[in-house]
Symmetry: C2
Subunit: 556 residues, 2 copies
């Protein structure tokens, strides 16, 4: 029997990335990337005339089809493999990235009469213009004592589905009216591939306030938001939610024509980019936390019992791996921290030194920071430059740097920022543990995890835990390909369960980061200081950060 392969498609913010993977080994045979022709639309609609307001971020669904049309044939060709040997396809997406369609699933923005209306397009995850609706929703939910708030750290984000839908209703009721379905883009792509609406439990759970036992919030709640939303679920969404790991359907004739795959090829239920990386590093049971580290960090963890952990971003049954509770937490400012620092705080002579050495400025700062002993700088920071997502869930918290002297050097501040994010991660880990969700092992994926050895060693030393690193530079795409193999099933040369799939296809590097006992001890002292400051400024003893934000808002 010839080797079997699956395909994973990872839809990111700027481009789609497709990888072709050997099923029995997880070997990534070929990769193709296509940048979205329309990119992120945050100034104008495609007509170049219709201006978008501040905080908008749209995409064009045609771009998602273009990714399939170009990259799938490209990986087949690069790998020298025929479509017969592709047994399954999986996809993952940014989320909540959503769009309104008609009954047939045609995006409203494809229709001449709506093409000039911004609300007819895909609202990307980072579309932040539904903040008013999110605020109102949170206020009403809190007043009504809605239970679901606890599963989301007490707050529904403006990035999520219901605020975005409500914004459409508020600002473009005719689009809301016209929309027979309002879908995650992830599910919409699955609809294009299989002809079936097969909404996934991951986006439903993390982004649309759905719960496996309790379903969506009540009609009463939606009515309290706006009477026209009372029947939202029945009218625009669906109560049929499919668990991660399930088969969504098979490639249709039309999809076969689009992609070059064979009709009948198995397609997995869609997934979210961060969450799908979990099996890609081999995590298929509880106690293992994956950090996906980029501009921000997303923490995903499996559990066997539903616990309410203060400040988590969500807990969803079947949300990550079938049969498990999937917990999500996050730090909203990790890589962004360092970009801000380099853009705003690094003196010219450091830039020159980096140029002379022919290295990136981050590399230079990291090298200099790496030569410092723990505690040598005398600095400590609170990593709240972009608020605190977990444990405090408070966007009004701000960054703090303490311990400056006239001898403080840029690399010392740089290292203090790295350490602050590590303390933030430890705070999240301890909060999970204190609330009955065990964490025994740490994994990391994403650009920072792969490249920054100093940072990963600091994380190991601060948490006192070993850290294993994804061996795939494209863990989400690999994870999607794994779910493709699961959708195909053992009979077709795939797998019947995710544990088996992970055993063969998942990858972590052989070498891993080990905490150094004396470093752990040194960091324990510094972490104790972080924790005191964290609680003093974050838990209401001194709300100076919020008052300054209020003064700032009023000053304009």
């Amino acid at each position: 029997m010839s080797k079997k392969y699956t395909i994973g498609v990872d839809y990111g913010t700027q481009s789609g990335r497709t990888v072709l993977v050997e099923v029995d080994s997880g070997r990534e045979v070929a990769t193709a990337v296509k940048a979205y022709p329309h990119g992120v639309m945050d100034e104008y609609l495609p007509d170049g005339r219709t201006k978008l307001a501040h905080d908008w971020a749209l995409q064009h669904p045609q771009d998602y089809l273009d990714v399939l049309r170009e990259t799938v044939p490209a990986v087949l060709e690069e790998a020298g493999i025929t479509a017969e040997d592709i047994i399954g396809v999986g996809i993952d997406f940014t989320a909540c990235t959503m769009l309104p369609t008609d009954k047939a699933g045609t995006p409203l923005c494809f229709m001449q009469e709506h093409a000039g209306n911004p609300h007819a397009y895909v609202k990307l995850w980072k579309h932040h213009a539904a903040q008013d609706e999110a605020n109102k929703l949170n206020r009403i939910a809190a007043e009504r004592g809605e239970d679901f708030l606890k599963r989301y750290g007490g707050k529904i984000s403006s990035e999520w589905l219901i605020p975005k839908i409500w914004q459409i209703l508020d600002e473009a009721p005719e689009i809301y009216e016209k929309a027979d379905r309002i879908m995650e883009a992830a599910d919409w792509v699955i609809l294009q591939l299989t002809g079936k609406e097969m909404r996934n439990s991951c986006t439903a759970g993390y982004k649309a306030i759905w719960h496996k036992q309790q379903g969506y919030p009540s009609k009463d709640f939606f009515k309290a938001l706006d009477p026209r939303l009372e029947n939202l679920v029945e009218e625009k969404l669906s109560t049929e939610i499919h668990p991660i790991g399930a088969k969504a359907g098979e490639i249709t004739k039309e999809a076969a024509a689009l992609t070059g795959l064979k009709a009948g090829t198995a397609v997995a239920v869609a997934n979210v980019d961060a969450h799908v990386a979990v099996p890609a590093v081999g995590i298929t049971d509880e106690g293992k936390l994956l950090m996906i580290m980029g501009t921000s960090t997303c923490h995903i963890l499996l559990g066997t019992q539903e616990k309410l952990v203060p400040g988590m971003c969500g807990v969803v049954e079947d949300g990550v791996i079938p049969g498990y509770l999937g917990y999500e937490a996050g730090q909203s400012c990790v890589g962004d921290h360092f970009e801000w620092f380099v853009d705003n705080c690094v003196p010219a002579h450091y830039i020159k030194e980096a140029e002379e050495q022919g290295v990136d400025i981050h590399r230079l700062l990291t090298e200099k920071a790496g030569r410092l002993a723990i505690g040598e700088s005398g600095l400590i920071a609170l990593d709240w430059w972009n608020g605190n997502r977990s444990v405090l869930v408070d966007v009004d918290l701000t960054g703090l740097l303490l311990g400056c002297t006239l001898l403080t050097k840029p690399e010392e501040i740089y290292r203090a920022l790295i350490e602050a994010t590590a303390y933030g991660t430890r705070m999240i880990i301890e909060t999970f543990r204190e609330n009955g969700v065990p964490i025994n092992d740490l994994y990391a994926a994403g650009g920072i995890a792969e490249k920054n050895k100093l940072m990963m060693q600091i994380y190991a030393d601060v948490t006192g835990m070993e850290i294993r690193i994804s061996a795939s530079p494209q863990a989400p795409a690999l994870g999607s390909a794994m779910f493709g193999a699961l959708a195909a099933g053992k009979d077709k040369g795939g797998y019947d369960d995710i544990v088996e799939a992970a055993k063969h296809m998942a990858k972590v590097r052989e070498d891993y980061y080990k905490p150094v006992p004396e470093n752990v001890e040194a960091y324990n002292k510094l972490y104790a200081e972080y924790k005191t400051l964290h609680d003093y400024f974050g838990r209401g003893v001194n709300d100076v950060m919020k008052r300054l934000k209020k003064i700032k808002a009023e000053s304009k």
Copy 2:
């Protein structure tokens, strides 16, 4: 009768500056500056071989004579005035800047046998190598419950006279033994001019723990430091201390030959550079605080009663103006703050922008900072990059910046640092007031006061007080010239009291800074936040800064 003139000589850290002033108007007719040929010696002795340890800073007394030899004839010539019309001379000095001499007043470093010993030279104010002695002195004084500590904010600085003397005894007992006198350089110059030892009350009071009623610390105390110090005052110092404003003597024949002045010209008792600026801006009575603003800020204030104000740097009767108590306070990091920021935190594109505009980077940052509304940055800082001199008197406190976001800009931090120093000044003002020393008016002198309009307006708005600015760019030299006129007396064409002298010779600019009521209100809110943080981190609620400093010290 022809116009009369006086001469003021201001001995700074790098050079001496001499100004020739018209007595009846205060007009500065001519100025001459001479850089010290030996500069600040902090690496080698003049032999180029004898290496100095870390933290040493020496000067050569010959340089002080060279200043007189060159600059006095130069101002006479530039002004086209004969020595007959010079009625008096005054000088001021950095302090504590001290040296050992023989009985005749010859510096030990002038003698062949001692020229190779660093302890034979002048120890400059910023010689910091007597820290061990200062620490021991403070410990012993505290254990003995010595009253004098309260007059100096609880701590004697390593920069002051007794620690410096004790260092000589510790490290070079042969020099200590050889020294018949240990003098302030200021008093030594007066000795050269008049042939008389006429120690001044300003350096005695602020730097040598002398008190007009109580004298020096007791023999018991000195004995507790080291038995060999028991009779220090009688053996090396003097109990005869002369008040500021008194006449020290007259130019001797030798001094006339050196300077080109006439023998018999009146010479004033010496003074300290910051303190002598007080009458130069017209302050001759209580309630008026002068800020001398440079790399650090020195605050001088007159009072009619001796009060013990927490964290002041000293209170000295006759220390500034005869008949008044002179209070001193300080902020150890003002201009230094901004230098640190520019050296370590300003990105290359700002430097480029400044270059393109042909302006200094401080000017660019100030312009950008000036366009911000109060509170717009959301930032607040504690100005402790170099510890806190007043009110907390704690070198182990460190700087704090709070309120950072990913949109925080360099000019916002720059402005936050300016504001932090203004809050620090307000804290000092309020502490004086709360302890019964009135402050009704604010004056400022020094480079920052003269040049930085934004900063001075912020100070006016933060303190809610008008600020008058010295009209002389060389206020200390002008002040010295005023004391020269006082030494000459009315009969010789000068003045008999400092109030009269100030009426004619002192100068402030016509325009001054006025607090803007709505700015004052806005800053009241921010100052309240500063105060809370100041007390939380500075008064022992959370000693994180000290613990981090300890960890820092141990990390090395």
